[in-house]
């Protein structure tokens, strides 16, 4: 028996050795793992694009789809009713035309009549109505995004009318994201709805060549209505659960384009020959949630919240936490929004004396103690830096280790203040809806003021006055220290020589059609 085992062992070793030797001399043997974007003459498309992703797709169901980092997956297999270009402008998607009535509460969409899904069915207005209704009744972020919709009606085969309870300036953006994804009717009752997308997008998921949770292969949809946006015959998205694995994939030139997990990986990516493309995305800082003193009375005093803002050495935090990559700020609205004001990036300067003075005025000459959660979002070293800043002004942070139910506890109002990073949406209204509005998950105690409500009412109507109201809201939030932002975090996308990308304002990933071969 041992003899047999020995023979088997030798065969195994020989096989491994042969395999190793066969790989030594040629590049061909690793071709499948190396990225290859060589242009082919046929159809004017490049052969393959390999994308390195840091987030896996959680579901292929359009109804439950998220956006953000998973947008690439969705954009491959689905179309959206509208498209949002890299600079944020809205363009035609499945809808060729769109317009509001004078009251801004009825949106009319005109649909394309040449769109077919991978199951052979065609796009029509009824299908759009069904999709939007399912989104509204679903249990994902889509439901909240479409909360302003009262009814959706098919006027004729290619016309859809969306009636709103109140104007929603962010609706067009939502319809260009996950809330505008349209899946075929056959998917609705399919048992495989979460694993088999039935879309009309530029690419089709090749399930046989894909491994859920690891690698996804897409082939160009030959019947696609917009072939100009198909730049590759095949797209492969490799998901890297580990930051080191992604770095090794970059060092081995296994991907053409990738999002980095953090700016600390930039030097390694550069030395591997990749081009670094950065833009500011999230803002990171403290959400001073308890502005009404529900669980921490001190935070109800605006002077205490302002003191926290003055106590932060934002430049130091940016250098210490992000190695200097990013931009310090004290506002939550992104640079591309109408609400943005450059002056508000430095409204609160680092001034410990001022912080102490404000605390004394508020009746806390001996300082205050605030309890904040310590979670996977906040590494210990980062927490210590922030606590060190605040301690100088007499603000003691009592860190409490968050459990598995961190997000639920957070949104349930367990902590009066906490560190977090929220997206800087491309539109002012979307930022308001995400972080400020009374029904927002991140307005933890769901409270507002008359001033904010009045400004929101003006923002809804858009136009010059809407833009002015957005700026006034921004000023209000900064002056009243609803938040204590540290800086805007830089999102990084790296590309090899064969690939170029146009970054999308306010989005972690670019539009799929904005990734193009350079050759």
């Amino acid at each position: 028996m041992l003899r047999t085992a020995k023979f088997g062992a030798l065969v195994g070793v020989a096989a491994l050795a042969l395999a190793a030797c066969s790989s030594g001399g040629t590049d061909d043997s690793t071709a499948s793992s190396d990225s290859s974007s060589s242009a082919t003459a046929a159809e004017g498309r490049a052969e393959q694009l390999t994308i390195g992703a840091v987030v896996d797709v959680s579901t292929w169901s359009a109804q439950d789809a998220a956006w953000g980092n998973t947008a690439t997956y969705m954009m491959a297999v689905y179309d959206t009713l509208l498209r949002q270009n890299a600079d944020g402008t809205i363009e035609a998607g499945l809808a060729t035309d769109w317009s509001y009535d004078d009251s801004m509460t009825v949106l009319t969409l005109t649909l394309r009549d040449d769109v077919t899904f991978t199951d052979g069915s065609a796009l029509d207005a009824d299908l759009v109505v069904e999709n939007l209704t399912r989104f509204q009744n679903g249990a994902s972020e889509n439901s909240g995004n479409l909360s302003s919709i009262d009814s959706v009606t098919a006027v004729d085969a290619t016309t859809v009318e969306i009636a709103l309870s109140a104007p929603d300036p962010a609706l067009l953006s939502y319809l260009a994201q996950n809330s505008g994804l349209i899946e075929a009717e056959s998917a609705f009752d399919s048992a495989d709805i979460q694993t088999v997308p039935v879309g009309s997008g530029p690419y089709v998921l090749d399930a046989d060549s894909s491994t859920i949770g690891s690698s996804y292969t897409f082939t160009a949809n030959d019947d696609y209505w917009d072939p100009d946006s198909q730049h590759y015959d095949t797209i492969v998205i490799n998901y890297y659960a580990d930051a080191n694995a992604l770095l090794n994939a970059l060092r081995d030139s296994q991907v053409d384009i990738a999002n980095l997990n953090s700016t600390s990986q930039i030097p390694d990516a550069e030395s591997a020959g990749y081009t670094i493309n950065t833009q500011t995305l999230n803002w990171k800082g403290l959400i001073l949630a308890d502005r009404w003193g529900v669980v921490d009375e001190a935070l109800a005093d605006v002077r205490v919240r302002q003191a926290i803002n003055y106590a932060l050495d934002r430049e130091g935090l940016l250098a210490g936490i992000e190695s200097g990559y990013g931009e310090v700020t004290t506002q939550i609205f992104g640079t591309g929004t109408t609400a943005y004001e450059e002056d508000l990036d430095s409204y609160y300067t680092y001034d410990v004396d001022k912080a102490k003075e404000l605390l004394t005025e508020a009746g806390y000459p001996d300082g205050i103690t605030i309890t904040m959660p310590l979670s996977s979002f906040v590494p210990e070293s980062e927490a210590q830096l922030i606590a060190g800043n605040l301690a100088e002004a007499g603000i003691t942070v009592n860190y409490e280790t968050a459990g598995e139910s961190f997000i639920s506890d957070l949104l349930g109002g367990k902590w009066a203040a906490f560190e977090f990073g929220l997206n800087q949406e491309s539109e002012s209204w979307a930022t308001y809806k995400l972080s400020v509005s009374v029904d927002s998950a991140w307005n933890i105690y769901h409270q507002s003021t008359d001033e904010l409500d009045a400004l929101a009412d003006r923002m809804r109507m858009g136009g010059e006055d809407g833009d002015a109201a957005a700026q006034e809201m921004n000023e209000y939030l900064v002056e009243n220290a609803w938040f204590a932002p540290f800086y805007r975090v830089e999102g990084v996308i790296v590309t090899n020589d064969a690939t170029s990308v146009t970054l999308k304002n306010g989005q972690a990933v670019s539009n799929l059609w904005d990734i193009v071969p350079t050759a």
Binding site: L2, K6, A20, S29, S33, N244, A245, D252
Partner: protein
């Protein structure tokens, strides 16, 4: 033999039932955010509630456990709460990858460790000390460090192997071999030491036995004594530790698979545990448990086969 195997199966079923029960109830402590994770951070409380109802999380835990047991007994482990993939399909597909790595590693470990152990036991002196020192070093270096160094040298510097990724054998056997070589070596380096020490110790014990002295006094060649008799007697303990090593490697593969971005059980176990994807975790625990019991039974049978003095009882 059949009675032994039958007893093992009965014990194994009891063990898996206990394991599944403990796992299910332990998971209840850490799964309170699952519905929120699925619905999204910005989803409304109502939306989260809908997800909880859809997953059955609004039911009492005993009801949920009973439902799971009944379905599992019918071979239905349910769907992943996150990917919607059939749990049995997801686990068995990934298990094949992990078992391939573990079997490859055990195979390699056996060959290298037996050679090193036998060499150390027969030569003694400095070769023995060298083997012992190398064994300790091999065991002391963390697996992830070995993996990182292997990638840097053999994938990035020399470009002999892919740094990450996995090719299915059905797509290309040579590329499949290339994709598993570094992970297998990374898993193997840490396990050679223990097995080599075991082989060395067992052989040294055997050398002291009367039958070896008798064989030598009858004029048998040294080579024949060592490889035909001593090694065979030392094989039993080595087989035991190799069986144990296989089980350890199933766990150890988590880090290596993650570092090499290999779609094995490791990354699935990590993501499903941190997400609170209970159906997947339960599927992994039960199926891994079954494999461990099968392997242990096979090791016992193999021991009896190798060494007739060992009787199954």
């Amino acid at each position: 033999m059949l009675r032994f195997i039958g007893r093992r199966i009965v014990t194994g079923v009891g063990l898996i039932a206990t394991l599944a029960t403990l796992t299910f109830f332990l998971l209840q402590f850490g799964s309170t955010d699952t519905a929120r994770r699925i619905a999204g951070q910005s989803a409304t409380e109502d939306a989260v509630q809908v997800v909880e109802e859809r997953l059955g999380l609004d039911q009492p835990v005993l009801v949920r456990f009973w439902d799971w047991v009944v379905a599992a007994l019918h071979g239905d482990f349910g769907l992943s709460w996150f990917s919607g993939q059939d749990v049995l399909e997801a686990v068995t597909t990934r298990m094949q990858v992990t078992v391939t790595l573990a079997v490859g590693s055990v195979f390699l470990t056996a060959i290298i460790a037996i050679v090193l152990g036998a060499y150390a036991a027969t030569r003694r002196g400095w070769p023995d000390r060298a083997v012992q020192i190398l064994s300790v070093i091999g065991q002391a270096i963390p697996g992830f460090l070995v993996a990182l160094v292997l990638v840097l040298v053999f994938a990035i510097q020399l470009d002999w192997f892919p740094a990450t990724g996995y090719t299915k054998p059905s797509d290309s056997v040579p590329e499949w071999l290339l994709s598993i070589t570094l992970p297998v070596i990374a898993l193997t380096i840490g396990s050679i030491g223990g097995v080599a020490q075991q082989v060395r110790g067992s052989m040294l014990d055997a050398f002291e036995r009367d039958y070896v002295r008798t064989l030598r006094s009858r004029g048998l060649a040294h080579r024949s004594v060592v490889y035909k008799h001593v090694l065979r007697n030392a094989a039993g303990p080595a087989l035991s530790i190799l069986g144990l090593q296989f089980v350890i490697l199933l766990g150890g593969a988590v880090i290596v698979e993650t570092l090499f971005s290999i779609p094995g059980l490791g990354p699935l176990a990590l993501s499903s545990t941190s997400n609170g994807d209970i159906p997947v975790v339960m599927g992994i625990v039960v199926i891994t448990g079954v494999i461990v019991i099968i392997v242990n039974t096979l090791v016992d049978v193999a021991q009896a086969w190798v060494n007739p003095k060992v009787r199954l009882s």
